[in-house]
């Protein structure tokens, strides 16, 4: 009997933690999204209707989506290329790896301070532009803000992706690559037909983690630009933050359910695609 219980016992602690801090609140939020604020009565889909017709919410959603669409592929390709280089040049790679990992060790607040120094109206970059006689740019209050956020996200998370890619690459049986060499495949052909398909499962994890971490870039956006940043970096969490201040729990609940459903669907879709794709004849 104990043998059946044992696995459950092992995961019990984290299961309890997940239950208390994630699952139960999620169920609560789901219920709350159908409840009228103040009266506590059943609201039907009113909350959802209100949220979906809220212009700020839609801007935040589309900004977040745009951020994911730009960042995730960019991050994947960039980190893959770097990790392949490190993988094939292990000696030089060791130094590079450390270099790419440093940003991860820097606390967000310190990093943000650095970004401010760089991109402030009277920051370093504008200083350089000025000394060159060029026009200064209002980095944080124009469309540039989005790209600065992309840059900071990539800079901060590149090392993590590289490590994950390296783990995926090193799980590929080296003799498969050697077989491809003797079969006459060029290094590009090997990468496309042999290495990447073999590292497929690793790649899935990396994509999912990148999507999730790109959701968290709010910290940087918030700390650099404050509560009401340029419209281009107004993210989902900004609006949640504002609703929270106004105690608009109904909207928060509906908004959370919508964004979590989108995220879950995105991951399931990816998974479907992954199981079917990548197989050659």
């Amino acid at each position: 009997m104990l043998s059946k219980k044992r696995p459950v016992l092992f995961i019990a602690i984290s299961l309890i933690g997940t239950g208390i801090f994630l699952l139960i609140p999620y169920v609560y939020v789901f219920i709350a999204s159908f409840v009228k604020r103040g009266t506590g009565g059943f609201a039907g889909f009113d909350n959802y209707r209100e949220v979906l017709s809220n212009e700020a919410f839609m801007t935040a959603m589309s900004n977040t989506a745009r951020f994911i669409v730009v960042c995730v592929p960019l991050m994947l390709v960039l980190s893959l290329l770097i990790s392949i280089y490190i993988y094939e040049n292990p000696r030089l790679g060791k130094m590079l790896k450390t270099g790419f990992l440093v940003p991860m060790a820097i606390p967000v607040t310190s990093a943000v301070l650095m970004w401010r120094f760089l991109f402030d109206d009277k920051g370093i970059i504008n200083g350089i532009l000025e000394s060159l006689g060029a026009d200064t740019v209002n980095w944080m209050n124009t469309g540039w803000a989005f790209w600065i956020l992309v840059l900071s996200y990539i800079w901060k998370n590149l090392g993590y992706s590289i490590i994950l890619w390296l783990a995926a690459l090193s799980s590929v049986n080296p003799s498969i690559n050697e077989a491809a060499k003797t079969d006459g495949a060029s290094s590009f052909q090997r990468l496309i037909h042999v290495t990447l398909p073999a590292a497929k499962n690793g790649a899935f994890v990396i994509i999912v983690l990148s999507v999730l971490s790109s959701f968290k870039v709010f910290r940087e956006a918030y700390l650099v630009a404050g509560e009401y940043p340029d419209q281009s970096i107004y993210l989902v969490q900004h609006i949640f933050n504002n609703w929270f201040r106004n105690l608009e729990m109904d909207k928060i609940a509906a908004g959370s359910v919508i964004s979590s459903v989108i995220l879950i669907m995105l991951i399931l879709l990816l998974q479907r695609f992954w199981e079917k794709g990548g197989e050659e004849r």
Partner: protein, 322 residues
């Protein structure tokens, strides 16, 4: 197909280990060479240097007259079969065999035709749409061979291709590899640690130990005239009896030791220590003076003492210069 000439090949690893000290060999067109030796003797490293997967410290390899020094593996026009099959899991059997043709941009029709033909030779034509993970070990190794054979490379390299298979399958595939190799006339270098595999398959056996070639000769010659005690001990299902006397080393195979259960004038008296039944004969360990002597008998030896005779024509003699 082509002949290959290897001149003074050497490999010293970065940690100072001399894996291959001096390897020279000429292989004729269509010849089947088996490199055999204990693990760590440098046989796999030699094969990998021929394939270009390992860079030689010095020496030259000429394939069909072309110097391969500095030539990339993919441009060497060789094919290799690996011990762990190294199949592409994301492709079907067809895709695996077709891969070397695909990367050479051959036409679709040509690929279909060649794959079908080689699949027939290897008896895997019914498996073409399957994926590697659904195949048995023997089937996987056939697919790996198909992938290597499909484009008729100049040279065919095999790195212990049968080591992961069970004994019966090994026997079966051994014959089949030889049959296909003869049919295609493929110049082949085959690496194994199994002396029986070497004996039964090779046109010529190359015995290696400690990074050096000990002897390169036909299986018969290796067995009948081993160049040194190492080769003598390595071959044969029972290790050769070897002993030193003065500056010479003597050896005789257990099956060639003559014995009598009755006293014979001038024969060596020996005590029977233990006996094992091995199917078609008995193997007995005896002790004559200080030397242990193995011998074969068709029935169990009943007496505790036997008298041994070593026919001079069966005794190998080497100078003790090791």
């Amino acid at each position: 197909m082509a002949e290959i000439k290897i001149e003074n090949l050497k490999k010293t690893f970065r940690n100072g280990v001399e894996a291959v000290k001096d390897f020279s060999l000429e292989v004729a067109d269509g010849e089947f060479i088996v490199i055999v030796g204990p693990s760590g003797c440098g046989k796999s490293t030699t094969l990998r240097m021929i394939a270009g997967l390992e860079k030689a410290t010095s020496g030259r390899i000429l394939l069909g007259g072309r110097d391969l020094t500095g030539v990339d593996t993919k441009d060497r026009d060789i094919a290799m079969v690996f011990q762990n099959y190294a199949l592409y899991e994301n492709m079907t059997v067809f895709g695996n065999i077709a891969f070397p043709l695909k990367v050479r941009k051959e036409s679709k029709e040509e690929i279909e035709e060649k794959v079908a033909k080689i699949a027939q030779v290897l008896k895997i034509d019914s498996l073409l749409q399957r994926r590697p993970k659904t195949l048995s070990g023997g089937e996987k190794q056939r697919v790996a061979m198909g992938r290597a054979l499909v484009r008729q490379p100049k040279l065919f390299l095999m790195d212990e291709p049968l080591s992961n298979l069970d004994a019966r399958l090994r026997l079966e595939l051994r014959d089949e590899i030889r049959r296909i190799q003869k049919k295609l006339g493929a110049t082949t270098i085959y690496v194994t640690h199994d002396q029986l595999e070497a004996m039964t398959m090779a046109d010529r056996v190359v015995v290696m130990n400690k990074g050096m070639i000990q002897q390169a000769a036909s299986p018969e010659e290796i067995y009948q005239r081993p160049a040194n005690p190492f080769v003598a001990k390595f071959f044969g299902s029972l290790p050769m009896n070897i002993w030193k006397a003065g500056r010479k080393i003597y050896g005789i195979r257990p099956e060639e030791v003559v014995f009598s259960q009755e006293f014979k004038e001038g024969w060596h008296e020996a005590r029977v220590l233990e006996q094992h039944f091995s199917g078609n004969s008995w193997m007995a360990a005896t002790e004559a003076g200080d030397e242990r002597v193995l011998l074969c008998s068709d029935r169990r030896i009943e007496s505790m003492t036997v008298w041994l005779c070593f026919p001079p024509e069966s005794v190998h003699i080497w100078e003790d210069d090791l």
